[in-house]
Amino acid sequence: MLKQRTQAAFSYLYDNYAATLNGIIVGIIQDQEVSGDVLQEVFVKIWRQVENYDPVKGRLFTWMYNIARTTAIDTLRSRDWKNSKRNNSLTEEYTSLPDKAPNPGDELGLRKIIQGLREEYKVLVELSYFEGYTQEEISGMLNIPLGTVKTRIRAAILQLRQQVKL
């Protein structure tokens, strides 16, 4: 149905997934207004690249999720956005110190959930999931062996999965 690329198909896709994808974007961007713009970009990408989606490799939602997440991270990394949000990312570092968090509980979506993780896990999820760094990059940034990064990320994700058991 999607590959017919009709407006009805798009409408169906949007109605079923817009809020969910928006939740992923808001979780990363932490700004609802900017997230709205990113969501627009995400749906345009999804629609124009839908022929690249390969059902063998995974579900449609997983594919869309990846587009949403990487687009959000790209936006976060773009220079303008980084500059305007520099202070925020600084305060995010402070959230690692429980008593000094400026507005604990203000985090949105998944970012709120990871607040419950151990500190060494939290920073890895932050860098990999939210900021999109590769394990190699993180290993260099934190001066931790790649094997340790890999193991800790897996452990962190497992813990997360248990926390958000449905």
Partner: protein, 271 residues
């Protein structure tokens, strides 16, 4: 290889979340094809991702969809039926336009008939309004005529009351020699001494002339009033006593002494 350990390691979750490294991704792509258990685990992890994400969904502003439909308007294709290709793809379009044609035709018919009905009703309205106006005029005329008859009837009734009142004396005044066609009657109330006159038959007075009633008291004529332009019973002057009444034609406004050459009628009071 320990498949259970692999499944439980968290690498599958990292993979669906998109944070596994290239080596892990390549390994997983290979293993899921070789091991159905791993393929199932990937499926489950994808379901977990969808469920978790749905739980964290954030509602989107209403305008967002419209905005996207506008942005992508050139990226949509016309609906195409998978089985029949272009032929059936045109069919719904044609039937749509046929429907539209029917609707358009029906609209025109409705409009024309509505206009015709309006014209018809307008004409009926105009005619009814004119008829009503005519009837109003007729009614006014009838009412006026009716009023006139009513007045005359009331006057006649009053006259009759007077003529038949007790003590009313009737004095018939036939025409004198040469004026035989003339006739007038005096009604004289013996109680109030009021004098009433009916000009039964008198020629119309010429211009500048007027009939004058005289009472003959002991052989002398006494002015009893001018005959005005009145209908039926006309009240004239109050006369205390008289032996006869007479009418002469005098100059307008009356004369102190009657011109006896112009005597028209005369009658004696029956005592």
């Amino acid at each position: 290889m320990d498949i259970q350990a692999y499944i439980q390691s968290g690498v599958i979750e990292s993979y669906v979340l998109g944070i596994a490294n290239e080596q892990e991704v390549a390994e997983l792509q290979r293993l899921r094809l070789e091991h159905p258990a791993i393929a199932t685990a990937v499926e489950q992890a994808e379901q977990w991702l969808l469920d978790t994400s749905s739980q964290l969904a954030v509602p989107v502003a209403d305008k967002s969809k419209m905005q996207l439909l506008t942005t992508l308007q050139n990226d949509f294709k016309e609906p195409v039926s998978a089985s029949n290709g272009s032929v059936s793809s045109e069919a719904p379009v044609r039937s749509m336009s046929r429907n539209m044609a029917w609707i358009a035709a029906a609209s025109v018919v409705l409009f024309v008939s509505s206009a015709a009905v309006n014209l018809y009703l307008y004409n009926k309205y105009t005619k009814a309004a004119n008829d009503y106006s005519d009837l109003l005029k007729e009614r006014t005329t009838l009412l006026a005529t009716n009023k006139a008859y009513e007045n005359r009837l009331t006057a006649l009734q009053n006259n009759m009351q007077l003529m038949t009142a007790p003590g009313m004396l009737k004095v018939s005044m036939p025409g004198v020699a040469g004026k035989e066609q003339s006739l007038a009657t005096v009604y004289w109330d013996t109680h109030t001494k009021d004098v009433y006159l009916i000009a039964n038959s008198l020629p119309a007075a010429p211009a500048g002339k007027q009939y004058q009633l005289w009472a003959l008291v002991d052989g002398k004529p006494v002015d009893a009033g001018m005959l005005e332009n009145c209908e039926g019973l006309c009240q004239l002057k109050n006369i205390q006593q008289a032996q006869a009444f007479a009418i002469t034609l005098e100059k307008a406004g009356g004369s102190p002494v009657p011109d006896l050459t112009q005597l028209y009628v005369m009658g004696k009071v029956q005592s």
